[in-house]
Amino acid sequence: MNSLIQLLNGFETALTWWNLLYCLIGVSIGMLVGVMPGLGPTAGTAILLPITFGLEPVSAIIMLSGIFYGAMYGGTVTSVLINTPGEAASVITCIDGHQMAKQGRAGTALGIAAIGSFIGGTFAIIGLAFIGPPLANFALKFGPPEFFALMLLGLMMLLGLMGQSLLKGLIAAVIGLILSMVGMDPVSGTVRFSFHQLELMNGFDFVIIAMGLFGVSEILMGAENRSDSEKIPKIKGLLPKKDEWGPALKSIARGTGIGFFLGLIPGANAVIASLVSYSAEKKFAKNPSRFGKGAIEGVAGPETANNAYSGAALIPLFTLGLPSSPTVAVLLGAFIMHGLTPGPALFQDNANFVWAVIASMFIGNLLLLVMNLPLAGVWAKIALIPYKLLFPLILILSMVGAYSVNNSLWDVGTMIVFGVLGYFLKKLDFPLAPIVLTFVLGKSIESSFLQSLTISQDGFFIFFTRPISSVLIMITLLIIILSIFSGIKKKRSYLANDVEI
């Protein structure tokens, strides 16, 4: 009850005109950096951080956290409309979201994503307010071996995204893994595949690869089909059909749970949340074959999950003082700069501050929902712009975005190279999502594996002697065995029907 009263007090602070304004500025900038390819929430918060020096701490944190969760809303837009993820967590949304746009249902895809994001985000904040502290301590049990097992499970989930041919999917996955190995290995410090090129010493940047493979290749494909043969049907409104509400809401509920749980674990990322959610949706669906062809659950689930993730990711920060992602690390910097020490004492020493920020997140999510539902219709109209006008515009925006990541032309060139690569891969019917996802997972799998072995006193057994990692590895093995089993039973190429049993 005590928390509830404090929360109401928090609303009192958050609802002052100035704080409302900063909240609005924060979420709007968040939306914007989410929409802009190349600019992400990390860059957004980092750039604005110096501006907040002169602000009240409460207003500063309200604004900066608004950027963080606002970006998750914005990232969806480009995924759906132009098949280019605005930020990493929205890669999955491209699969079904863009298909929906092609069917003229871009508005619906964006609408359900906004609703799901709102529900996921709000529940995560409720979690942050009421059950955060005990959960956060549990999450600390995730050390390198547990991460390794979790990433392994994530890799297994990828099988669900392989598309038509398993062989091509596996090739794509391996390409991603190899790309992830470029650069310095953080554990031993060895530089690999850099060919003495300084720019490659830290490996490729995810944003650059994703923009090239998805965005630039899409433009090349579009330029080829200049005839505009794929005429976009009229936009059919923002809300799902009657019979879609049920499954969509269920996906939103599942996405909330998955995102919230993964957000608690410092170091897991939003990509895993949306990936796991997508696989779960495909598993729960009555007719999994609709996935990849514009299934609404394929948008609702992952988009909810990445928002629930971003809300829950603030729990380790608030309660333990541990940043769970680069963006949250910038937020931690902001806390310290404003003389606040995140951690268990924060709720006691600065209760007013904490509850005001939490209250502002409720407000911010509501603002985002209000902004996004009508905006979904406006955004969706972008899909109606003729290709000859739209594509050069996207290309220019992507180049500026790629340049802005590290302020370097090298990245622009890299993006174009990956664009050409993506074009050929698309021509050859290779699925692209596995490439970027294994790229993200690959680095963490490798470093957590090596870290585990360094920590371990008895070699490989560390993965099986620790309860959480051994359970996760068992689940992974079980999925493999069951897939093989069901494959043989169906007398089809045994892995072709992925994890569906």
Partner: protein, 333 residues
């Protein structure tokens, strides 16, 4: 809210100035620049992300120093990322030494990276301008760890070689080199676990997955204040007033040089002495600004000014020790 507006307007002004500076950069590089310097805005790059420690220290110091530049000119800071700061410094290395292209560097990209042999520059290929800040690296353990003091810890490590695991922000980071230096000088064996950034290593420490961690002073602060972790020793080359109880190993352990993470300003080699002097004067005055000291205090650090000559010496000694230690520790050949 007045302050907020003022900051916003100064940001807008900065953006305006920087856009002008880009426009002028190509022209107006007369040989007589040193006579009347600076005649146009000076560009400075930072090799690390905006919002990080190196970036914040640089931007705040530059803002303070900019007020003391002649001709009402200013310094415009931009971030150039890649290869742990090596991309940015390689660019500074290739610039014309006219005083209009400067770089802000840290121990990482100036001292450590060249030891790996992957950079086109060496640490003595530049004209040091001023040292802005230096922050010690500290060895921390969880508060419920069995070792209450550095002495107890040392006893344990001597009895149990290769048992104590410690995390750092990554292999070859100053924090890693600092601990390896201690290993070599005290003839002990500890196991290094490299993470991606200090935040990850602190998280692993909190979860009890590793036994200790070496982190920057300001990175340890939030958790020492809440009593979650304990500082066992100062592995740096400067004292840490916030942790007086932790021994300053540079003084207490013979032969241990100590490793700080510093941030400083460099110019390309052969930049005229007069130019360096003008810049140094500005930074010397700027770093005494009480407003700057107040702002740096908030992020757990303070300005530690050193002029060109002294900074050169610091670079020389750290380069020498780090090279020797990294060889001994098997990090480089």
């Amino acid at each position: 809210m007045k302050i907020g507006r003022r900051v916003l307007s100064s940001i807008a002004l900065l953006a305006f100035v920087s856009s002008i500076s880009v426009g002028c950069a190509k022209t107006n590089t007369s040989a007589k620049a040193e006579m009347d310097y600076p005649k146009k805005p000076i560009e400075m790059t930072v090799g690390f992300a905006a919002g990080g420690m190196a970036d914040i220290v640089t931007r705040l110091s530059v803002e303070a120093a900019g007020k003391h530049l002649p001709n009402k000119q200013s310094i415009v800071v931009s971030n150039k990322l890649g290869a742990s700061g090596s991309v940015q410094l390689a660019e500074v290395f290739q610039q014309k030494p006219d005083g209009y292209k400067l770089g802000s560097v840290t121990t990482g990209n100036l001292i450590i990276q060249p030891n790996f042999g992957n950079t086109p520059y060496k640490s003595n290929d530049f004209e040091p301008v001023a040292l802005l800040n230096t922050a010690p690296n500290v060895l921390v353990v969880k508060s419920d760890a069995p070792w209450k003091t550095y002495k107890e810890w040392l006893e344990y490590v001597k009895k149990n070689p290769s048992k104590f695991t410690y995390g750092t922000a990554g292999t070859g980071d100053t924090k890693h080199v600092a601990m390896e230096t201690l290993n070599v000088t005290k003839n002990i064996k500890t196991k290094h676990v490299g993470f991606e950034g200090s935040a990850q290593s602190i998280t692993a420490l909190m979860g009890g997955h590793i036994m200790g961690a070496v982190v920057g002073l300001q990175e340890a602060m939030p958790l020492t204040q809440s009593g979650k972790i304990r500082v066992l020793a100062n592995l740096g080359s400067s004292k840490a007033d916030a942790y007086k109880d932790a021994p300053f190993l540079k003084e207490t352990e013979q032969g241990f040089p100590g490793f700080d993470t510093f941030t400083g300003i460099l110019a390309p080699k052969n930049t005229p002495k007069e130019v360096i002097k003008i810049l140094d004067e500005a930074f010397k005055k700027g770093l005494k600004d009480p407003k700057l000291i107040e702002e740096l205090k908030k992020i757990g650090t303070e300005p530690t000014y050193a002029g060109p000559e002294e900074f050169k010496k610091i670079i020389k000694t750290s380069a020498k020790t780090s090279e020797e230690i990294m060889k001994k520790a098997g990090l480089t050949k």
